[in-house]
Amino acid sequence: MFSMLFPAFESGVIYAIMALGVYLSFRILDFPDLTVDGSFVTGAGVASIMLVNGQSPVLATIAGMGAGFIAGCITGVLHTKGKINPLLSGILMMIALYSINLRIMNDRPNIPLLGQETLFSMFRSFWEGLGIDEALNSVFAGIGLDPTTWSIMALMILVTFTIKFFTDWFLRTEIGLALRATGDNKQMIRSFSADTNKLTVLGLGVSNAFVALSGALIAQYNSFADIGMGIGMIIIGLASVIIGEALFGIKTIMRTTLAVIGGAIIYRIVIGLALELGFKAGDLKLITAMLVVIALVLPKILEGQKERARKKRKRSEFEKTYALGPEKEGDNVASTKSNSQSL
């Protein structure tokens, strides 16, 4: 059980960075940005081709992130300068990126990274010198959890939480506040001398930088980049955001970014369980779509039920206090009855 959940947890923490990117565009900027499906592959492609060409994993990963930033900025310019509707700007960019990604990947739809040095193999050789694996395994072996290495988990928790804390900090800076207001009330923040166009471009850039970083890391984690690896990524990101928000709450920014990370991990675990139950890999997109629908609809149904229960309670309270027992009500009914009879 736990040994099955471990890889789901691991990849969940990596995908969480993508989900934080989607949170920035969807929730903070209120911009449904479909660039994600393309920029995820851009990050993976740039990092992979650089690794294959012998560049350092750190540099390759950062370059992938930078490419995503540029892609996001272009979507932002299409919308703000080109006055193209947000959904369409994202779709256009996503389609354009398909061709660009193929070019980046040297016209190869798949780049294997087996045997390449990656961020993970690099960190692992450092990690194994520390002897933490043995210590952790001796603790967790009791519950049947003894993965070959804890280094990926450790590195990813470090990276993902760095991104989380960066986001929390950024959204509270002067620029960050203006960015949030851009998604909340454009007229207002413009009247306080913020350039909402620039902020939208910046926000989408940062959002897609996160997405591309996640793509670059997933490529290194899975040991390949594939031109189709971004299909449906936006829905996965959205699923993570919505599940996380519904389960863990949105009281503050810090809480919400944590919730989004939690949502990404839970999504991976649900998918892992679905595969375990015998669903095919091809079914996963349908399951994802259904998860999003459930996460969107269920809270509303629950709220409706709660509201009905509350009203029912109120009504019975009301009856108790005002009717002062059934006799009086009965009297009234009787008197009207007798009235009608006498007529």
Binding site: L177, A178, D184, S191, F192, S193
Partner: protein, 264 residues
């Protein structure tokens, strides 16, 4: 302080819907002038405000603020020195952000935004003090989401946010119109106090004649894109609603007859 030279604005030119919203407006405000603007629906009052704030650009004419021609300056740049409160109480604040965050954004209006913390301890103290002047108890709710406030509270906050950085020009477009009478009264009083305290050069559009007479040192009446009446100083103080209405009938009537004369 504010100069409007030959402002002309036409909507949908060359179509059946062509509408001359502003017709060769010339007007100048001195520092500290508080002008109330009245006029019937469609007279061009909001258009005039939008031309001054840069939401709309005039077809002809220029807007000059403190000797600087700002006609081609985009809205968000002009906003550094123009404060605005809108008719809709929801328009002036960001609902999903807290009171202190909203105030921090307003506070940053005439500064370059950077990667410093938006809300600092020092600012919080200042925000608390400013909020206390509203007497609405908002100073104890710095961390409340603005979306939770009532329309009147939001409008009071908007007014404070628009003014506490002392903008060169304050534009109020029917900012009490969407409130119930007692809230409107409150916002009107606050407006009077704040404008006086900071000596703000102000243009206030209102449909409430009494308000237009009570507030400010000058009054202009607009009709069909033109300023048809202007009173100031002692003359304004002595003006009554009846006189104002009579004046309106007189000018409009004479215009109508001259229009008729032109047509025949």
């Amino acid at each position: 302080m504010l100069q409007l030279n030959q402002i002309h604005k036409v909507f949908n030119e060359g179509t059946l819907d062509e509408k001359i919203a502003l017709s060769h407006i010339n007007h100048a405000l001195d520092p500290g002038d508080f002008v109330t603007v009245i006029g019937s629906n469609g007279a061009g009052k909001s258009t005039l405000m939008n031309v001054i704030s840069g939401v709309l650009s005039p077809d002809v004419g220029e807007v000059v603020i403190e000797g600087k021609n700002v006609t081609n300056l985009p809205e968000h740049k002009r906003a550094a020195f123009i404060g605005r409160v809108f008719q809709n109480p929801l328009a002036g604040t960001a609902p999903s952000m807290t009171i202190e965050e909203n105030m921090a954004m307003a506070y940053a209006r005439n500064k370059k935004r950077g990667f410093r913390a938006g809300v600092t301890k020092k600012l919080k103290g200042f925000f608390k003090e400013s909020l206390a002047t509203l007497h609405l108890g908002l100073e104890d709710r710095l961390n409340a989401k603005v979306g939770m406030l009532s329309g009147g509270e939001r409008q009071a906050l908007s007014l404070l946010m628009a003014t506490f950085t002392e903008p060169k020009i304050l534009l109020l477009d029917e900012h009490t119109a969407a409130l119930d009478p007692s809230r409107a009264e409150l916002i009107t009083t606050l407006t009077k106090d704040i404008v006086q305290q900071h000596q703000l050069t102000t243009l206030m559009v209102t449909h409430n004649m009494q308000q237009a007479l009570d507030l400010g040192n000058r009054l202009i009446m607009m009709d069909k894109g033109q300023i048809i009446l202007e009173v100031s100083g002692k003359e304004k103080e002595e003006l009554t609603i009846e006189q104002l209405l009579q004046e309106f009938q007189r000018i409009r009537g004479s215009k109508m007859t001259s229009d008729r004369a032109l047509l025949s």
